[in-house]
């Protein structure tokens, strides 16, 4: 490792700290050992009643407790845990004094049902209108709920707890949010605005209404029994994604700043790319051009060619449309090279952590680079014959991995890709 700048003359951006929580557990060690062992974190939901739901399982994070419970509260607590882990590893700054900005991918926030029900009960009458709810909301009794349900509340809390600099950015690019948070950090370092950035992505939104919303869009798997077998990326009998919770945090630094302080470099964010699809709110353009363009932009940003990518960490949601589209577009970009590129979907085990997925999967990609071992895509017993990926099916595979492409695609035409390497190109 020599060059502090990349081929385009920009500061090389490296990762010096990582923290992760998923339904598999807390921390990198626990997650990695379970991931390569092919364990599933998907389980039947116990947090709330599942009667009347078509989908009754999810990758919930039940071992993190929040009181009083709210999805936003859980998102915040998980973000705090993964940030602590990442900062401990990075050893950067001082306690409560991180020397750079925060970019937080977080699910959209709104007042949730437990709080809404509390209001309903407080009206104290069997018949009432929304105006009655409004009338009793003031007076200070519920002032904590104002803070809790501000969109900026999680970022404000993290910024204060960890002493990040400036205005923290809360962002949403749907299922690409985690990747976007990393991209914003990379850009800030490349522009020379900062030597370090904290990129965090978190999602704790397995609640009844969120589940119903995705269910009504027919996006979720309904293969509830056994729950561990529900998420089936690239399989013929895949039928949707599995909602999941989790969080990931990455400390990004310029290569120069990281080496100057003697930090251990865990990997390099070699390239980021993003391209909007204006075809439809939930479906990709049938010609796949925006996704193809996104991957090509990412390769160009990294100054790399397709033959330099030796592993793809797929978006791989296990919805019928995503996996097919992902294969078609990936093969358009990689051509014959694709046969030799092992592909895996972490979502087969941890589910789809939505706003957190891009960061969670970037961390798994970096751990893949570190361990030279690719985690499996479980539940891969019935391959879709039209998806000709070299899927790392069911069992982890040892492989020489030098550069990973990690893809994220989301509602609203959001496409984002990252290329992660061990060393600067």
């Amino acid at each position: 490792m020599t060059a502090p700048r990349d081929k385009l003359g920009r500061p090389v951006v490296v990762v010096t700290g990582m923290g992760i929580t998923t339904s598999l557990g807390a921390g990198k060690a626990d997650n990695w050992s379970k991931l390569v062992a092919g364990e599933s974190g998907i389980r039947t939901i116990t947090r709330f009643p599942i009667d009347g739901l078509k989908t009754t399982m999810a990758g919930t994070v039940d071992f993190v407790s929040v009181d009083p419970f709210s999805s936003t509260g859980l998102s915040e607590r998980m973000a705090e845990l993964v940030t602590q882990e990442a900062l401990e590893q990075a050893g950067i700054g001082a306690r409560g004094d991180f020397p750079g900005p925060l970019f937080l991918a977080v699910a959209p926030v709104e007042v949730e049902w437990p709080q809404r029900r509390e209001l309903g009960r407080a009206v104290g009458a069997p018949d009432f209108t929304y105006d009655d709810l409004l009338r009793i909301s003031g007076g200070g009794k519920y002032s904590a709920y104002h803070h809790r349900f501000m969109f900026g509340s999680v970022a404000a809390h993290l910024a204060e707890a960890f002493g990040t600099k400036g205005s923290p950015i809360s962002l949403s690019t749907a299922c690409a949010s985690g990747a976007t948070s990393i991209q914003l950090g990379v850009e800030a370092i490349r522009r020379g605005e900062t030597d370090a950035a904290l990129c965090v992505a978190t999602d704790g939104t397995v609640n009844p209404e969120a589940l119903v919303r995705f269910s009504l869009l027919s996006a979720l798997s309904t293969q509830n029994d056994p729950p561990q077998a529900a998420s089936r990326p690239f399989s013929k009998n895949r039928d949707g994604f599995v909602m999941a919770e989790g969080a990931g945090a990455l400390v990004l630094e310029s290569y120069e700043a990281a080496t100057a302080r003697g930090a251990k470099i865990l990997g390099v964010i070699a390239g980021c790319g993003e391209l909007t699809d204006s075809f439809h709110r939930t479906r990709s353009s049938p010609d796949g051009k925006p996704i193809i363009g996104c991957m090509n932009k990412t390769l160009a940003d990294a100054g790399m060619t397709p033959d330099q990518i030796d592993h793809i960490n797929a978006h791989g949601t296990a919805t019928p449309e995503n996996d097919k589209m992902e294969y078609n577009t990936t093969s358009a970009v990689f051509g014959d090279l694709l046969q030799k590129i092992p592909v895996t979907s972490n979502k087969s085990m941890v589910g789809h952590t939505i706003s957190a997925a891009g960061a969670v999967e970037a961390i798994f990609s970096l751990l893949t680079l570190e361990h030279q071992r690719i985690p499996p895509t479980i539940n891969y017993d019935n391959p879709d014959p039209t998806i000709l990926f070299d899927v790392v099916g069911n069992k982890a595979r040892d492989a020489r991995v030098t550069a990973v492409m990690s893809n994220s695609f989301g509602f609203g035409g959001q496409n984002a890709s990252l290329i992660l390497t061990r060393e600067p190109a």
Binding site: H146, G152, A156, I169, E209, E274
Partner: protein, 400 residues
């Protein structure tokens, strides 16, 4: 503190398009005329005792031609897509596939309106004794419109703008109330200034005519009640009146604008933002002073456009800051447009650019002495945005 100031060697960034749909009207002329006449559009009855600045109705068809598209959106998205379309028109790039296929979007957004009938239906049934474990699930499964979710998702404002106008660059949605609008402008500016981007669509939209939002702000007693007053006159009757508005800007590198012969309204020289702790009195005022000091040198004919909300203690702290700069004429968008949350900062930049391009600041509307008359044409306007709870931002808009 994070900032985006034009640095030596960085390209100048021009504001070449402005789109406004507000409680005062649509388009630049209608809004400008209303400001000149000190016309304020408030509804004190429809949501009584709460006060709102309702959107002056627009014909959505002119910017969102497909009814199917309109049906897929709730009001906040329709307002935003409409204003974004006006901004593209204003910049002269509507339908220009070469530019629209690469334009970068940074949108400041909250979330979409809930179905109040569904919410009330569930709660009243529970009040009458419905307590089966799956009751909520079943009602939501049967009562929620399947596509409502897409009208609520924050990033689907940007998604709808892309779909309706065929945008194909990058798309980022920032959340976090008022300061999200400032950070959206900051990031778009820094990307263009550094050469990462040539042209960007930046802005936000807000539907203030929403009881679900009023509940959220009522938790903190932030809603203005009973009687309207300009923001600086609300000290003993604090609060904000939610406003409906969409405000979008086309930001563009000088070179890109010149190459296509586009004329600037003004240049966006700097956007700076921060997060004051607001633990003690004076925290926010000190942060505003720090931001003020970070802006590039101001030696022209200056003015300030404030997004003060009318909520306390934030408004008093901002007034304390403004008093230290009393030689600058101040105007409050909160008085004229209501509080449009994520949209307030882009709206402030839009009005600053408009005032500079029209060679005059709009008249004051305040009896407390905070807003004073201004003679002559402003050449430098500082936009101030301090959130009702968290987040502070400032921008410098200058004559080209």
């Amino acid at each position: 503190m994070t900032d985006t100031a034009s640095k030596p060697g960085q390209t100048e960034v021009w504001i070449t398009g402005i789109g406004l749909a507000t409680s005062l009207g649509e388009g630049l002329d209608a809004n400008w005329a209303a400001l000149q006449e000190k016309r304020i559009n408030v509804d004190e009855k429809g949501f009584a005792p709460y006060i709102v600045h309702p959107l002056l109705p627009v014909t959505f068809d002119s910017q969102i031609p497909k009814k199917g598209d309109q049906r897929q959106m709730e009001a906040w998205q329709r307002i935003g897509v409409y204003a974004a379309g006006l901004a593209l028109d204003s910049a002269g790039i509507k339908g220009n596939k070469d530019i629209l296929s690469k334009i970068d979007m940074v949108v400041a957004a909250g979330g979409g309106e809930r179905d109040l009938n569904v919410d009330t239906g569930v709660l009243t049934a529970e009040a009458k004794g419905a307590n089966a474990p799956g009751f909520l699930n079943e009602r939501l499964m049967s009562d929620l419109r399947p596509t409502l979710f897409l009208a609520q998702l924050s990033n689907l404002l940007a998604g709808n703008i892309a779909i309706v106008n065929g945008l194909g660059g990058t798309s980022r949605t920032f959340m976090g109330e008022e300061v999200a609008g400032a950070d959206a402008a900051r990031i778009a500016l820094s990307r263009i200034a550094s050469g990462e981007s040539d042209i960007a669509l930046v802005g936000g939209s807000h539907n203030g005519e929403r009881k679900d939002l009023m509940v959220l702000y009522e938790f903190g007693d932030f809603n203005l009640k009973d009687k309207f007053a300009p923001v600086w006159q609300r000290k003993d009757h604090a609060g904000f009146a939610l406003g409906s508005a969409g405000a979008f800007l086309v930001l563009e590198s000088k070179a890109h604008a010149e190459a296509r012969g586009a004329k600037p309204f003004a240049k966006l020289s700097s956007v700076v933002t921060d997060l004051a702790r607001r633990k003690q009195a004076g925290d926010m005022e000190a942060t505003l002073e720090k931001l003020w000091a970070k802006l590039p040198k101001r030696d022209g004919k200056g003015a300030i456009i404030s997004g003060a909300t009318g909520a306390e203690p934030a408004t008093s702290e901002e007034r304390g800051f403004l008093k230290k700069h009393a030689d600058f004429p101040v105007r409050s968008t909160g008085t004229m447009f209501g509080h449009t949350m994520e949209t307030q900062f882009p709206l402030g930049i839009a009005l600053a650019a408009l005032a500079i391009s029209r060679g005059a600041l709009f008249p004051p509307n305040d009896s407390t002495g905070t807003e004073i008359e201004m003679q002559g044409a402003p050449t430098q306007i500082v936009v101030v945005g301090a959130g009702h709870w968290r987040g502070e931002g400032m921008a410098l808009v200058e004559a080209v």
